[in-house]
Symmetry: C2
Subunit: 441 residues, 2 copies
């Protein structure tokens, strides 16, 4: 039996497949479930917090409508879950109606359907740098031009966004939307300041484009006051949502295993999304929709979210404390007020991707930063998740990680001393550092 | 508050959205759930047959692993469900391994991911005429050229497929795959003969392309002997599957509400599918996967499929009997040996789309034929589903439908007599028949 030649059908594949890379996080998943590994890599909520009894209650409730739960449903979702979403969005400050909401198979499908609706090859997207890797994957299928805009601790910098828009205009690139994760951004953990939200809306009007507001973490706030969504700010200005396409998900306020999210947008856009959804997967799971409806209608869902926030707050604190305690002084990190992630920046000569196997060998894992950029940036950065692992393990994980980083720093120190004194350091080690050494000033 | 102008953002939409039409079936769903309507339109299995107790047993089993059920899963699916699929494919005559199987969010997502992997704009697809409307929707997002090949009662005609391939070659169209639903085809209800399966494989080798074998209904056979899948025939010839990409689904042998299917293909292709899946929806629902695993591992799933077949066989018989009893003589239909659908062809001057509102007014619904073609064909055809409605209602539905058709035929008869005698018939009625009257010989 001949071995299959992996490249045998290259001439048959679409061009787009060549531009799509696999997500480092997802590829790592097998390794990360190895016992003993402290994984700060995933973006996993803590689903154990839900409890078996609560799960059983939901199942029993859904069982009463089992024939519907097992059947195909409407393309845009069941009415009951749309009612739930109207309530959730109300809690986020957006007043809305059933018909403005469209159910998707997780927030991820929302990204895919919006991209499918707007992007021709070569169209531009303005997004944060770094940005959510899954969004880059979804967008890549439509071969756009990604333009990263730098952030500071108040999120995407509007003046820099304007520069990018001007540049695109000069180059004849049609920018279709600005993509932002305004709250506790994935991966950077920063939150877009209120006045900047208004400035982005103003930019969208001026350049006549759409804003894709991706808000999975908005309710996971541990401190400080909630900021208005871009959708609600547009509603305040206009009386209605026109150019903000809002993505929500149940993955963080209920559970990702049900794969349910939603798009909130004006009818013209939802009509296109509807057509795309039919081709993508016909409809989302009735079973999942009915479980969620049952939970949100019969339980204290706000109480559940508060309970999650208590857990995550404690773990975030554990992570920030451990970072302060263990990290060498040239390592910097963000201080998220909510969400799931801290973003750490190492000295520019350290390649976090190249360092990962060494970290895993020490039983700690993270996501290297380069996956959060369409281009070549972020190599000396990493995303650290604090939602999934208990506090004592987080502390131990950060301790181990600090050791790995310190070893890398010392290796470089000794290499530099070595080359100054003319001795021959290991060529392999030199090669490993080579790609980043040009950057180090 | 200003009304939203639906065309306001037309300049922002992608070109592909213009080529995508909404599926008539899906758009009709709201109407079809109206009490009193006998809907022969959907492609719904009978999920009531599953039973509340069986559903509860599954839920209780899944509850024991609730934290995993609620969590993100691996991109390609859980190992337990892949084991189930290996068993199911064994029952379909394909011997396979976990690693050749990839989980999708329903069979529909399989279509989308395969299209995403292979299609650049303008590439060709050979498929049956008529073909599954959902496949046309999935493909349309990638803007291919659809080439329908006629069928007879033994399925797609290979000589006609060869002609299309030759024509494409001359026109410089790169045909990427042949798409076929070999068993009890949706919508035509016909089954591809065994020797034709071999001929299609031979064509695929000769023209160096892939065969997309979509087999949701293979196990729903009411009579006659099972035919080997194209995947198993290739395996027989080659020792392995190389150019057959096989799509399976749990929608018909378990339930569509869980939205789970699979792709079976060689590793090079699955690698591309994996990348596409990450962008599309990250992973399929663990909850759904665990329910299915529980059912297939702990229950007599073959017994359940047999039970479904008993139900569907009786309903198919009821439909065929009623068609024979009630339909005017110029109406023809197929005799499916399994599956969910009968395809009926009306006199060429009747437009089944134009006739639908009249049928719905009489409380019976079907899917007009034109949605099953990329072009302009099938207007005088309809798809009739027999799986969802009880036999006595099927009989009544066909009786009502026959009345509507007879009225149309009589209307035309009187219009013809009217125009011969110079009288003025209703202009509205004339206009309604106009588009098809050119075709009537």
């Amino acid at each position: 039996m001949a071995l299959v030649d992996l490249d045998r059908f290259d001439f048959l594949y679409a061009n787009r497949v060549k531009g799509m890379k696999t997500a480092a996080t997802r590829d790592l998943m097998a390794t990360l479930s190895r016992p003993g590994i402290i994984s700060l890599a995933g973006g996993f909520p803590d689903t154990k917090a839900f409890g078996e009894e609560a799960f059983k209650d939901l199942s029993d409730d859904v069982a009463q409508g089992f024939a519907q739960a097992l059947q195909y449903g409407p393309t845009g979702g069941l009415e009951t879950i749309k009612d739930v979403i109207v309530d959730v969005m109300e809690a986020e400050g957006v007043s809305t109606r059933q018909e403005d909401v469209f159910i998707t198979t997780g927030g991820q499908q929302g990204l895919d359907l919006v991209a499918k609706t707007f992007l021709d090859e070569g169209d531009g997207i303005i997004c944060e740098g770094p940005t959510y890797a899954g969004a880059l994957n979804a967008f890549a299928a439509y071969r756009p031009r990604i333009m990263h805009v730098p952030m500071d601790r108040a999120g995407m910098i509007p003046a820099a966004a304007r520069e990018s828009l001007e540049k695109a205009r000069k180059q004849g690139v049609h920018v279709k939307f600005i993509y932002t994760v305004p709250n506790f951004q994935n991966p950077a953990g920063v939150t877009l300041a209120k006045e900047r939200r208004r400035e982005l809306l103003e930019l969208a009007r001026e350049y006549d484009l759409v804003i894709l507001e991706d808000n999975p973490y908005g309710m996971l706030r541990f401190e400080g006051e909630s900021l208005p969504t871009l959708a609600s700010l547009e509603q305040e200005d206009n009386g209605e949502v026109e150019r903000v396409v809002y993505l929500g998900t149940f993955s963080k306020i209920f559970a990702p295993g049900v794969r349910l999210g939603w798009v909130h947008a004006q009818p013209g856009i939802l009509h296109k999304i509807n057509v795309g959804k039919q081709g993508a997967d016909l409809c989302s799971s009735n079973l999942s929709q009915m479980m969620i409806s049952s939970f949100f209608q019969n339980s204290d869902w706000r109480g559940y979210v508060n309970r999650l926030n208590d857990i995550y707050r404690e773990r975030r604190n554990a992570m920030l404390d451990a970072l302060a305690e263990f990290m060498p002084k040239d390592v910097h990190w963000t201080h998220p007020e909510g969400g799931l992630f801290v973003w750490a920046t190492l000295p520019s000569y350290i390649d976090a991707t190249a360092m990962l196997p060494q970290a895993i060998a020490k039983n700690v894992a993270y996501v290297p930063g380069e996956g959060f950029y369409a281009g070549d940036e972020g190599k000396n950065c990493m995303r650290l998740n604090f939602s999934f692992v208990e506090s004592d393990k987080i502390r131990r994980g950060i301790e181990l990680l600090a050791e790995v980083i310190r070893e890398r720093m010392e290796l470089r120190g000794s290499l530099e001393r070595g080359s100054h004194s003319g001795s021959h350091a290991s060529q392999a080690s030199q090669a490993a550092e080579k790609s980043s050494s040009r950057k180090s000033g």
